[in-house]
């Protein structure tokens, strides 16, 4: 599996990372290098093996459905790059 420039652009778009045309060639080479190297996993027989999604030592815990935290609006907003009053701001999205 080798990535062409269009696929690299598509991945960058999915990841919401801007790439310059000048980055494209180097990035394509690096990603293909890594993908070529991980191809080795194709030789492993994984028939009937369950995927491991975590170490499984902690079972998900239930707790009462009550508020345990909050009332910290100013702290939550304190790192916003551009807050307006009690709101985050974004560029206009509705024309």
């Amino acid at each position: 599996m080798s990535l062409d420039p269009a696929t690299v652009r598509r991945i960058a778009r999915l990841a919401r990372i801007g790439i310059d045309e000048s980055d494209l060639h180097a990035l394509q080479g690096e990603l293909n290098g890594i993908l070529g190297w991980i191809e080795q996993l194709n030789e492993v027989d994984i028939d009937g093996v369950e995927p491991m999604v975590g170490t499984g030592h902690a079972a998900l815990r239930m707790r009462d459905d009550v508020v345990t935290d909050g009332d910290a609006r100013d702290a939550v907003l304190s790192n916003a790059p551009d807050a307006a009053g009690p709101f985050y701001t974004v560029p206009k999205v509705v024309e």
Binding site: A15, I17, E30, L41, G54, N79, Y88, P91
Partner: protein, 494 residues
């Protein structure tokens, strides 16, 4: 002996006996940071004033005879742990001005026990790297020098490179690290100190900036195994705020360091004898085997056949989780924003400017292996291979109590080496990644010097939640190695 040469264990006693004050102890370390950090770049942020204030409070507590376990002990905190009111950057432009309004559980535990924070240590951006060259705040210099090469700058390893360099150079008595695929153990090995990655679930991940959530685990780094045990005692424990935190008792780690090893079974995994392993690494390993045998251990050859797939599996699983975790950096709620005309353009411009090259590469790799049409071929397959790797360890631990391997395939290399090809850089973690994949505890301990005078570490891997056996075996190696070498750049000489 200078105050910066003391172990944490000795400093605890000295403070209680009032041989010296916390102000003197912390002051000596702050002065060392002021002399050496300009060169080593081990700290991104130094909190000298807060540290001296904390030292004065520690002296009040000590005067009343109410000392907590770490009262007055100066530590470095990897700049991946959120610290209330102190800038936390993850070594990224993205978080250059991020000041958390809360304290991570691990650092809160250390503060509860009286520790004094000297500052936030440098790292690879978002903990992604093995040489601490991927920091937006500049590379860290390893305080060690190759014999006869005083001008060659070596890397400290990564990602916890600032913590390792700071501890090795005696700028602090110990430090926190995090380990996702070797980020505590490999820099510990490169800098001639000890460091333990505890069992996944042992230390809370709450308030630690996430990289790969199924692998990330906090742990201590210090100059002795016992000091690591003292720090881990404070850092570890159940936390309701981390759903993967495990509710099991934290044993007395310090006591485990002195445990008799008679009858302990030590496994030597055949597959770790990789082709092309440098002779001096193999020699250090063989010495470690002999030391544990002399300490009364039974040495057993074991097999971990899927180990060789550990690294390739890791470089699917970790980027996948990273791409998901780092989606939060959107330029809206916190962190850097690069304004643009539309929201999508703002995301792309912000993430292009805020992330460094390695982080962008891993996010893109993770995005690809999770994308429609490729998920099964890459991500699902990797999760299945990960299960096979874990089963290898489970089978081995039916036969033996711990495993002994080298920590890294080489001593510290120079800045500029291994940097053209990401895969060559990834290979530094070939011995540390498998234990991360399985979630089991593992520790690096200094075992000797390479031919050109650089430290070499050995790795002890244990059963889940049996950090005690790991600490016991590492202590035995430490005693046998009597590693008293110190780096060229350190507080006592510069």
């Amino acid at each position: 002996m200078m105050l910066t040469e003391l172990t944490i264990a000795a400093a605890q006693d000295g403070l209680r006996r009032r041989d010296f004050s916390a102000v003197e102890l912390v002051g000596a370390h702050i002065a060392a940071i002021e002399r050496l950090n300009g060169r080593l770049n081990a700290f991104i942020t130094v909190t000298a004033d807060q540290a001296m204030d904390a030292a004065r409070r520690a002296d009040d507590v000590l005067a009343k005879g109410e000392a907590a376990p770490l009262t007055g002990i100066p530590l470095g905190i990897k700049d991946l742990f959120c610290t209330d009111g102190v800038r936390t950057t993850a070594a990224s432009r993205m978080l250059e001005n991020f000041v958390p309004p809360y304290e991570s559980t691990v650092t809160a535990n250390l503060l509860r026990d009286g520790a004094v924070f000297a500052g936030k240590t440098n790292l690879d951006e978002f903990a992604m790297g093995s040489a601490n060259i991927n920091s937006a705040f500049g590379a860290v210099e390893n305080p060690w020098k190759r014999e006869g090469e005083a001008d060659t700058v070596l890397v400290p390893g990564g990602s916890s490179g600032g913590s390792a360099a700071a501890v090795a150079a005696s700028l602090v008595m110990g430090a926190t690290g995090t380990d996702t695929g070797g980020s505590i153990r490999q820099p510990a090995s490169y800098c001639g100190i000890a460091g333990i990655k505890p069992t996944y679930g042992r230390c809370s991940r709450w308030g630690t900036i996430a990289f790969a959530s199924s692998l990330d685990q906090a742990g201590p780094m210090a100059r002795t195994v016992e000091d690591c045990a003292i720090l881990l005692q404070s850092m570890a424990g159940f936390d309701l705020r981390d759903s993967t935190s495990v509710d099991c008792p934290v044993p007395d780690y310090r006591a485990a360091c002195g445990r008799d090893l008679k009858g302990m079974k030590v496994g030597i995994p055949a597959e770790y004898r990789v082709a092309g392993m440098p002779a001096e690494i193999e020699a250090a390993w063989n010495k470690g085997i002999a030391w544990l045998r002399d300490a009364g251990c039974e040495i057993v050859e074991v097999s971990l056949p899927y180990t060789k797939y550990g690294l390739a599996t890791y470089y699917i699983v970790a980027p996948a989780e990273c791409s998901s975790n780092l989606a939060r950096y959107d330029g809206v709620r916190f962190g850097r924003r690069v304004p643009a005309a539309s929201l999508d353009e703002q995301y792309e411009a912000t993430r292009r400017a805020g992330f460094g090259a390695e982080v962008r590469r891993r996010i893109m790799m993770g995005t690809y292996v999770l994308s429609a049409g490729y998920y099964d071929a890459y991500y699902l397959r990797a999760q299945k291979v990960r299960n096979l790797i874990r089963r290898d360890f489970e089978r081995a631990f039916q036969q033996v109590d711990v495993l002994l391997t080298p920590t890294a395939p080489s001593p510290a290399f120079a800045q500029g080496e291994k940097m053209d090809d990401p895969v060559q850089m990834y290979l530094n973690d070939v011995f540390t990644v498998p234990a991360s994949m399985a979630g089991v505890p593992a520790m690096s301990v200094p075992a000797g010097l390479s031919a050109n005078g650089l430290p070499l570490g050995l790795q002890i891997i244990g059963r889940s939640f049996d950090e005690e056996a790991v600490l016991a075996a590492a202590s035995a190696i430490e005693r046998a190695a009597s590693f008293t070498h110190r780096p060229a750049l350190r507080a006592e000489v510069v």
